[in-house]
């Protein structure tokens, strides 16, 4: 069973991921595919309490952002351990589109060794891969305590620290 980490703790999942042919129970919180959302958005919004959307990692955000802006949750897909495309999607959602809802990572790369990069890119909830230990993954969020690049998390940034110290 995969654990969910959210806001730096182990959480119970209040969303149900729906396959495209599943109807789900009325009034619940669900995550649907982008294709389904684009097709049935309004009907889904009426039927469920909350509707999150799962994006393929190949989608160009600028083409669909208008339809996503009001979503409470966007799930990003990491279909293989070494496929980093969704990192760029996460950063764009946070930095460019100012998305403030939950960005959830799921898939083969949601493991201890990628947790902190994901958090830095703006992902704030993690459906851990089934073989992962939740506490170890939480600890990984503190592997590094500062960073060279400005990003979506709150790590101190080296260039800013240096600027405030002066040359």
């Amino acid at each position: 069973m995969s654990a969910l980490l959210r806001g730096h703790q182990i959480a119970t999942d209040d969303y149900v991921a729906l396959a495209d042919d599943e109807s789900g129970s009325e009034g619940s919180r669900v995550i649907v595919s982008l294709a389904r959302w684009l097709e049935q958005g309004e009907a889904l919004a009426g039927r469920f309490d909350q509707v999150g959307v799962r994006l393929p990692n190949t989608v160009e955000l600028s083409t669909i952002w208008a339809g996503l802006a009001s979503r409470p949750l966007i799930e990003l897909d990491f279909p293989a351990f070494a496929d980093g495309r969704a990192y760029s999607q996460a950063r764009l959602l946070r930095d460019r589109y100012g998305f403030s809802g939950e960005i959830r990572a799921s898939g083969m790369a949601v493991v201890r060794d990628q947790m902190q990069s994901m958090a830095r890119a703006g992902i704030d909830s993690f459906v851990l891969r089934a073989d992962q230990d939740a506490n170890s993954c939480l600890a990984a969020l503190r592997d590094f305590n500062l960073a060279y690049q400005p990003a979506a998390d709150r790590l101190p940034i080296v260039s800013a620290l240096r600027r405030s110290a002066g040359p």
Partner: protein
């Protein structure tokens, strides 16, 4: 030397701890093999033909004497007493034990070194001109810009899982000594016609199985926009680079398939949205980085020395060393001294622990405690007072480090090949030795003059064969070692890819083929001043081809 501050040090120390934990979890069976592979590669650890190989990063090729000593210590303590300098200004160890790599990394961290991102599909070591800071034809010292870029690239959260490896090189001179046009991104530091400092950006160059010269996608990028522009290029690549086929995954393929014009448009559109964001440098940022580099107090009267010229006249051995291995320095009275790691019968780029220690001592004594690694796998002591060159030469002679062959035929580039590398089709070290054997006479080598032979044991092209004046590529033919030869490549400002001579040549005949190529050049050149490359460009392939494949058949 760039000196770490507490932030740089903390990040490197945290990385050692992270990697130690990864190693322990792997050994405990908690990380699958293929995933640990990706993780260890991001720390430069390969599993090679006989043992793991660890690649240690030497940012833009610059080393302090205490770092050289540490490299010697690691060679002795964890390896068989040798290190191997690569064509990307790094050093590799061929015999470390996987279990002890975390200890090696901790030792490296104690002298401000690491193996971060020396392999794997991420942004690799930033390389530059080995004469940075001392070259007479230099606009500015490129190293602070390299360092800024290194920091931006280190643990970049978005770009650690790219489609393929990514290499960035900087140059700030009229003659490109950093082979920038065969990198994923080549940055040329320039001034525009208003006198402002900035960069020309080249993208999509590369060697390997699909060699390509980079396209210039921006003529002038303002100085403070460097990182945002790099980020824009990387973001386009991370999102759109191919991941379905490892051989088509480099950015050069994306640029080619998209078309350079359209690719440029995409980068510019992305950049327009981020150029005023957090990555835009502030005017003081570059000064802060510069302040981490040592200033070298040059002596103003160094040029008053007369002993250098006197020794040149009286010692012919010294004179031939100076002729090939000593270059002018931008400061009067100083010289740049090349230490050849290509002794006759030796392995290109290898240095023993003892030699590393000697180089450290000599750097301390004669060159402000610094040394550099070149793309041609040699070492440079770049800041030597002319009056010290003679004593330095004598010390180098004692340790087999004074071969006066820089830029000559025997100063060839050669990857580790079949002797070490698990990807190799063919040996390269043995071939380089065979070639060297045929050109033992120094007089003949001087007569031939400047020529770059580059050799790789397989298509991956770590030996940069496609940009060698003579390129040699190992290929496998029914389990035998054969060699594909190319002529006319260059990695400098006039960058070009070599042309194939014809069918591959057998192991037994490859050295003979090189000798024949050289004999054609020697007969055909218009004067001693016409280099091999220029001669080839003038007369073309036919005369070479005719000779190489003439009877007695070298391919037989």
């Amino acid at each position: 030397m760039y000196k770490y501050d507490s932030y740089d040090q903390k990040l490197v120390d945290e990385r050692v701890a992270q990697y130690r934990d990864q190693t322990q979890r792997f050994l405990a069976g908690q990380i699958p093999d293929d995933e640990f592979r990706a993780l260890r590669l991001r720390n430069g650890l390969y599993i090679q033909r006989f043992a793991p190989m660890l690649r240690v990063s030497i940012p833009y090729g610059l080393l302090a004497s205490r770092q050289l000593r540490m490299l010697g210590h690691i060679a002795r303590e964890y390896d068989k007493g040798f290190g191997h300098f690569t064509t990307r200004q790094n050093i590799q160890y061929n015999w470390p034990q996987l279990e002890r790599v975390p200890d090696i990394l901790a030792d490296l961290a104690s002298v401000q070194m690491h193996a971060i991102q020396t392999s794997g599909n991420c942004i690799r070591n930033i390389t530059s001109d080995h004469l940075a800071g001392v070259a007479r034809d230099e606009l500015v010292d490129p190293r602070p810009y390299c360092e800024l870029t290194r920091q931006w690239a280190t643990f970049h959260p978005e770009f650690n899982w790219l489609p393929r490896k990514f290499k960035i090189a900087f140059s700030a001179t009229t003659s490109d000594r950093a082979a920038t046009k065969v990198h994923d991104i080549g940055v040329h530091i320039i001034r525009n016609d208003k006198g402002e400092l900035g960069y020309a950006i080249y993208v999509g160059g590369g060697l390997g199985r699909m060699p390509m010269i980079a396209h210039r996608i921006r003529d002038f990028l303002p100085e403070l926009d460097l990182l945002s522009y790099l980020e824009a290029v990387l973001r386009i690549y991370n999102r759109l680079g191919r991941r379905d086929n490892i051989h088509r995954a480099r950015i050069k393929v994306l640029v080619k398939e998209t078309g350079p014009a359209k690719f440029t448009e995409m980068v510019e559109a992305e950049w327009a949205l981020i150029r005023d964001g957090d990555l835009r440098l502030q005017p003081g940022d570059i000064d802060i980085i510069k302040s981490h580099f040592d200033e070298h107090p040059y002596e103003s009267d160094a040029a008053a020395d007369t002993s250098f010229d006197a020794m040149l006249k009286s010692d012919s051995g010294f004179a031939s060393f100076v002729r090939r291995n000593v270059h002018l320095h931008r400061a009067d009275g100083y010289r740049v001294v090349f230490v050849s790691l290509k002794p006759l019968g030796g392995v290109a780029g290898d240095a023993s622990a003892e030699q590393l220690d000697v180089l450290a001592d000599l750097a301390d004594r004669y060159s402000f405690g610094e040394a550099r690694v070149t793309h041609d796998q040699n070492i440079v002591l770049a800041e030597v007072r002319q009056k010290d060159v003679y004593a330095l030469w004598q010390a180098l002679c004692e340790h087999g480090l004074a071969t006066p062959n820089i830029g000559l035929l025997t100063d060839l580039i050669c990857c580790p090949g079949l002797d070490y590398c698990s990807l190799a089709n063919a040996g390269s070290i043995g071939v380089s030795q065979d070639i060297a054997d045929r050109f033992e006479s120094l007089d003949y080598l001087y007569d031939i003059g400047d020529i770059k032979i580059k050799m790789s044991g397989c298509m991956n092209g770590c030996g940069h064969h496609s940009v060698g004046h003579i390129g040699i590529l190992g290929v496998d033919k029914h389990g035998e070692e054969w060699y594909q030869v190319t002529l006319g490549g260059s990695a400098e400002n006039d960058a070009s890819l070599g042309d194939r001579t014809g069918p591959a040549i057998s192991r037994a005949n490859i050295a003979e083929a090189v000798e024949r190529i050289i004999s054609v050049y020697m007969e055909q050149r218009q004067s001693e001043d016409e280099s091999f490359l220029r001669c080839y460009r003038r007369i073309g392939m036919p005369p070479f081809k005719a000779r190489i494949y003439a009877e007695p058949e070298v391919t037989a």
